[in-house]
């Protein structure tokens, strides 16, 4: 139940945040995020010093867009566990233990940075903007329509499921999960309700002139700002990828301190 509530809340939150006046074009957002993720995963497995510099993108975005760190940590947690699970053998099987620890730490950092970048992207882009970006990138219209429809009926079906689960729990208190004897009828009923609903949806859509695809209308985006956003961030990410920022900062600090002495 809590999981369903959380999912519904997440969808509402994503919709609400995306309704903010966002003047940057979604394709610019998508491009910057993909370049950032590619840059992150392209680091060598022992290059933790260089990888650490990529945190600057995350920090700046979080401060700029006032993203809740608490929510972000909740998102990162499962990926953190997954990367730890995959990388836990590295200290044992790598060349040396210290090399293994380094490669494991790099793997964990990569996982955290990638999820955070995706999270930042999608807290600022609703499904409508995503679909618009996908259409511009020549994704098949069928797929975009499926995405839009899925999003539209996700909350309806989740609420339906929540009601069914509540009814089930009231009749079977203290039971963990759905009893195997009711697997078929419970999920099957949800499925039948979904299909019936799909039929009603289709009928009403036809009455409104549906011709097989949804039209995703462009919104008003600031072209100059969008291009500037993409250009500045792409250059910054490439710079972070090439230059070890923290090592350079450390060297600069030492130089200043030495000059002072």
């Amino acid at each position: 139940m809590a999981k369903i509530d959380k999912a519904i809340k997440d969808i509402h939150t994503a919709d609400n945040t995306s309704e903010r006046n966002n003047s940057v074009h979604p394709v610019s957002w998508l491009l910057v995020t993909i370049i950032y993720i590619i840059a992150v995963v392209s680091f060598q497995k022992y290059n933790i010093a260089g990888l650490a510099g990529m945190v600057l993108y995350i920090l700046i975005q979080c401060m700029w867009h006032e993203i809740s760190i608490k929510d972000m940590i909740k998102r990162i947690w499962p990926v953190f566990l997954l990367t730890v699970l995959v990388g836990i053998a590295n200290p044992l099987f790598d060349r040396t233990v210290s090399a293994g620890v380094l490669s494991m730490a790099t793997l964990i950092l990569k996982g955290i940075f990638c999820v955070t970048a995706s999270y930042i992207l999608f807290t600022h882009m609703g499904i409508r903007q995503i679909c618009y970006a996908l259409r511009i990138l020549h994704f098949p219209k069928e797929l975009v329509t499926i995405l839009l429809l899925m999003h539209r009926y996700l909350i309806v079906l989740l609420k339906e499921l929540e009601r069914m689960q509540l009814a089930y729990k009231l009749r079977a208190p203290g039971q963990r999960g759905l009893h195997f004897k009711t697997w078929g009828s419970f999920v099957g009923l949800l499925l039948l309700r979904s299909i019936d609903r799909a039929g009603e949806v289709y009928d009403s859509m036809q009455l409104r002139g549906f011709n097989g695809t949804f039209q995703v209308f462009p919104e008003r985006y600031n072209t100059v700002r969008s291009v500037a956003y993409a250009a500045v961030w792409c250059i910054a990410i490439l710079a972070l990828r090439i230059f070890p920022v923290f090592e350079m900062m450390e060297a600069a600090i030492w130089r200043i301190l030495n000059l002072g002495v």
Partner: protein, 339 residues
């Protein structure tokens, strides 16, 4: 089984994107050929259904744990493999884009691992093949379990290959594989049982919703029960009565082997127990070596073939009747005990 971006190198992620994009392109092409406007809304709502169904915890009997649904096999069994694949892409995209479940760069790999095998191996190969002569509860159960196990085994194998090809983990291939496959065998079994339960429910309530039902599901068997019995009886008479005349006189495999070792196909047996068994057999065998006792003739072989078939049928029926008799008695006692 959602992979994170960190588990893939850009080269492997790009390759998987290309593979998934090709399959998606093929599926879109097939859907466009169908030209069924109603299918797209159904796919959208079915995607939402799978997403909602993934939120349900299914308690696994005897373990105290619970399992979840992946859904690609179920979608294929309802929508068909191509439509199921596109719907699964939608589900995985929503999970990735809205819930950060599975990485953006790893989306291509996740589509391949979780949607391709379920839809094209589970749906297009296993489901289609097993349902080609009509549907039944047993077939649905077998296809669902087999399809889900195959899907998860191949998916887990792909995850292992992709991670190793990316050079992410230092785990040796064998150890990684040994860690991945058995757990996904258990998960596949649970997923198969859940899928089977739902599809059997659907088969009993609204069978027309299942994929291929109109084409093959309602096909009646070509012969009635009586027709099958008649064909079998005629076949037995023809084979036993006529074709038995043309049987080879050469020794069979065992006899040939014995002849190679000892130089003869008939071994001499000594000892009391062998003599006793021989005597019993000489009394009971009315048609020794498939001929009359008095001499070798074609009529004896034909008669042996036919009478042998009849005796086998009578014996089988007798055994079935005896089993039914005891089951009825046992069942009655059980009921009485309950009452």
């Amino acid at each position: 089984m959602h992979m994170a971006d960190a588990l893939l190198s850009p080269a492997v992620a790009g390759t998987m994107y290309a593979c998934s994009a090709l399959t998606a392109g093929y599926s879109v092409h097939k859907i466009r050929l169908e030209n069924d406007e109603k299918k797209i809304p159904v796919m959208g709502v079915m995607g939402a259904f799978v997403f909602a169904a993934q939120m349900i915890n299914f308690s696994i009997p005897g373990t105290g744990s619970s399992g979840h649904l992946c859904g690609s096999m179920m979608l294929s069994a309802i929508l068909g493999p191509e439509a199921g694949f596109l719907t699964m892409i939608g589900v995985l995209m929503v999970q990735c884009l809205l819930f950060a479940d599975g990485g953006l760069l790893a989306l291509g790999a996740n589509i391949w691992n979780m949607a391709f095998y379920g839809c094209f191996i589970g749906g297009m190969v296993i489901w289609k093949y097993m349902m080609r002569n009509g549907m039944s509860r047993r077939k649905i159960m077998a296809a669902s379990i087999l399809g889900c196990i195959m899907m998860l085994q191949l998916g887990a194998f792909s995850v292992t290959l992709e991670t190793l090809a990316s050079g992410i983990t230092e785990l040796p291939f064998g150890i990684f594989l040994a860690a991945m496959q058995p757990i996904h065998l258990a998960i596949g079994l649970v997923e198969g049982l859940i899928t089977a339960a739902v599809l059997i429910f659907l088969y009993e309530v609204r069978p027309e919703l299942l994929w291929n039902y109109h084409e093959t599901g309602e096909k009646k068997s070509r012969l009635s029960y009586k027709g099958v019995i008649a064909v079998l009886a005629i076949s037995a008479v023809v084979i036993g009565g006529l074709l038995s005349l043309f049987v080879s006189s050469n020794p069979d495999g065992l006899e040939w082997s014995v002849k190679q070792v000892t130089g003869t196909t008939e071994l001499e047996s000594k000892g009391g127990i062998y003599v006793l068994a021989d005597r019993i057999q000489s009394v009971t065998s009315l048609l020794p070596d498939y001929t009359w006792k008095e001499g070798n003739s074609a009529g004896g072989t034909t008669f042996s073939g036919i009478i042998g078939g009849i005796v086998v049928v009578v014996l089988c029926i007798a055994v079935c009747l005896i089993i039914r008799f005891f089951r009825c008695r046992f069942g009655d006692k059980g009921n009485n005990g309950k009452d």
